[in-house]
């Protein structure tokens, strides 16, 4: 479903050009669970932004479900994000002073889903990530970190996207809640969703079925984790 060909990204500041991505090519099939791992400065965030259609590459081609999206305008990219991609961020990015339910309904409003159907869809999505129904009308800032991230995942899922893109989703969580969140991603993958996980921690990447190592804007390794481990196995 994703194919990138020789993608580069160059940032210019004044006369200085910084080449963040130096010609990256790979493809990801439907239903894969891929971790993109690399140290900070490796270009993984830039790659994630391009994969998430938040940014366009300086050169190269990006085919998302067969469509070349590398030269689309802002609004055309917004359309793809709206329909096809669900984001999960390190800092959750929930709307403050807004109820859990309303946070999850938000993408549906932009997708012009009829008003009457929205709450039902949002509730289903929240239940699927294991959030208790008693929490639905709490304000987002009253939740614990783990709950917030699960609300964020529910929000990412609510439009039924074909790709879930998670940027350091456990970065702001303690290891225990982090594990719960990772389990959630695994379950989503089991249900057939494509998940891309960006992280700089190896043990988190081991949850995925495939790992792409990035360093200095280049892929240095692309391996299949033949037996992706469970949380318990990693602990041992």
């Amino acid at each position: 479903m994703i194919e990138i060909k020789n993608i580069t990204k160059v940032y210019k500041s004044g006369d200085v050009e910084t080449k963040v991505l130096k010609g990256i090519s790979f493809s990801i099939n439907d239903g894969e669970f891929v971790a993109i791992i690399g140290p900070s400065g490796s270009g993984k965030s830039t790659l994630m932004h391009i994969l998430g259609c938040l940014d366009t590459p300086s050169s190269g081609q990006y085919f998302f479900e067969g469509q070349d999206v590398s030269q689309l305008s802002d609004d055309e990219l917004a359309d793809i994000r709206k329909k096809k991609i669900g984001f999960v961020f390190q800092s959750f990015n929930l709307l403050p002073r807004t109820t859990v339910l309303r946070n999850v309904v938000l993408p549906l409003a932009y997708a012009n889903i009829p008003k009457g159907e929205r709450e039902e869809i949002a509730k289903k999505s929240l239940l699927s990530v294991g959030l208790d129904e008693t929490r639905f009308h709490h304000l987002s800032n009253q939740l614990s970190g783990g709950e917030m991230q699960r609300v964020a995942i529910a929000r990412a899922l609510v439009n039924n996207p074909s790709l879930i893109l998670a940027d350091e989703p456990t970065g702001n969580l303690d290891s225990k809640t982090g594990e719960v969140v990772l389990e959630t991603f695994k379950n989503l993958n089991k249900q057939g969703r494509t998940v891309i996980l960006i992280t700089h921690e190896k043990y988190i990447a081991e949850h995925a079925k495939r790992t792409i190592f990035l360093k200095d804007g280049e892929i240095i390794e692309d391996v299949i984790n033949h037996r992706s481990k469970t949380v318990q196995q990693i602990k041992e």
């Binding site: 932004h49 998430g52 938040l54 940014d55 802002d74 609004d75 917004a78 359309d79 994000r81 709206k82 329909k83 984001f87 961020f89 990015n93 709307l95 403050p96 002073r97 807004t98 938000l106 993408p107 409003a109 932009y110 997708a111 012009n112 008003k115 929000r155 439009n159």
Partner: protein
């Protein structure tokens, strides 16, 4: 996004920070309120001036003396000439077609004394046709008759205000005596109140026969104005030109520029007065408009702060699929909503002020639909104008940078 979503978002955003929204709205409330109040004062003044000019009489043409030029080059100012005479007025009545009634008058202010009380008011020497020309009605007794005029009788008709000042409210002092300039006049009638207050009120006057005024008070045979009533509004211009030509001939003046009189119709006076009050209204509204602009800048300031504060939220909205238009509409709607609320409250406040001015200061005010529509569209317009820049700023944010914003 549906419009209802937009309104809901706007409501939540405005109510999230009630104090700040309230203070920002207050700026617009004061702006709109003062525009409404000022326009209503201006239009009220226009209205009352127009009414008092209309009440002077219908189809009225006034002939007044011009500059006094005959004896020297020094002009004593318009109206100072003593060139109009009763003969002029009689000739007008005789020769000009479509003239209903003609009333010459000789007015001057005198101190009037009655039973120890005294007042200073306008004494109008005139003829029997004056009430029909000037729309004056008699309340008690009778007006000056032609007999009185030809006999130079020392009789007087009081306006109701003058009567109140000299004899007390509601009294009927017919048969009593007033002293004008040391001469006793017998009261024969009281006119009906025409309303209107202040300088030039037709209720605060004393009417006496013009011949009496010329002989005993002024000691000269000129008249200060001649009021002419045309038969219908259609013949006004014709009558006006007729009078001008006739008087030029009577006064032996060949060059119309040198005329020692002026002929003004009621429309001319009305036009001059309305253009004056309109200027005043515009001036007042312009001053009030400045506060509206200041209020608008307040809106822009708040929206700028809001956009900065909510940068991450904007980033997230973009990440979940909001387009530029969605974002800019959201912030524009917020600005317009703020000004709209300010506009509604401002209209209520402005109307309240106008009502208060009428109630406490007795000044006429008029809240027109026009000024309300104007205020509404101006407030919505201000929302759009001052909300546009912040909204564009929000819409153009890069989602990646916005999401990372701390």
């Amino acid at each position: 996004m549906l419009i209802t979503d937009l309104l809901e978002e706007t409501y939540l955003a405005i109510s999230a920070n009630k104090t700040r929204s309230g203070l920002t709205i207050l700026g617009i409330v004061i702006g709109i309120g003062s525009v409404i109040a000022m326009i209503s004062i201006g239009q009220g003044a226009t209205g009352s001036i127009e009414t008092s000019i209309q009440s002077m009489g219908s189809n009225l043409i006034t002939v007044s003396p011009g500059f006094q030029r005959s004896f020297s080059q020094v002009s004593a100012g318009r109206g100072s000439a003593q060139t109009l005479t009763i003969e002029d007025s009689e000739t007008i009545a005789k020769e000009i077609p479509f003239v209903g009634a003609v009333a010459p008058e000789l007015s001057r202010r005198y101190q009037i004394v009655a039973k120890g009380k005294n007042t200073n008011t306008q004494v109008v020497g005139t003829v029997a046709s004056y009430p029909s020309v000037k729309n004056i009605e008699i309340d008690q007794g009778s007006f000056i008759s032609e007999q009185n005029v030809s006999n130079q009788s020392k009789v007087a008709v009081l306006g109701p205000t003058t009567r109140d000042d000299l004899f007390g409210e509601g009294t009927i002092p017919i048969g009593e005596t007033v002293r004008i300039n040391g001469i006793n006049f017998k009261i024969i009638g009281i006119t009906k109140s025409k309303g209107g207050t202040g300088f030039g009120s037709q209720d605060d006057m004393v009417f006496i026969p013009i011949t009496t005024a010329q002989k005993f008070l002024a000691g000269a045979d000129y008249v200060s104005t001649i009021s002419v009533q045309a038969e219908s509004p259609q013949v006004m211009t014709q009558v006006q030109t007729g009078i001008t030509n006739l008087l030029l001939e009577l006064h032996n003046i060949t060059d119309p520029q040198m005329a020692d009189f002026s002929v003004l119709s009621q429309q001319d006076i009305l036009g001059a007065a309305s253009s004056m009050t309109n200027t005043m209204t515009i001036l007042l509204a312009a001053i009030a408009g400045i506060s509206l602009i200041v209020g608008g800048i307040g809106i822009m300031n708040m929206m700028m702060t809001t956009v900065t504060e909510r940068t991450r939220e904007i980033g997230l909205r973009k990440a979940v699929g909001a387009k530029r238009l969605d974002i800019s509409l959201q912030f524009l709607a917020e600005a317009v909503m703020l000004t709209f609320i300010g506009g509604v409250v401002g209209i209520i406040l402005g109307s309240g002020i106008a009502y208060g001015i009428t109630f406490f200061a007795g000044m006429a005010t008029k809240i027109s639909l026009f000024s309300i529509i104007l205020a509404f569209s101006v407030s919505a317009g201000i929302g759009i104008v001052f909300g546009y820049w912040p909204a564009q700023k929000a819409a153009k944010l890069n989602p990646i940078e916005a999401l990372r914003y701390e």
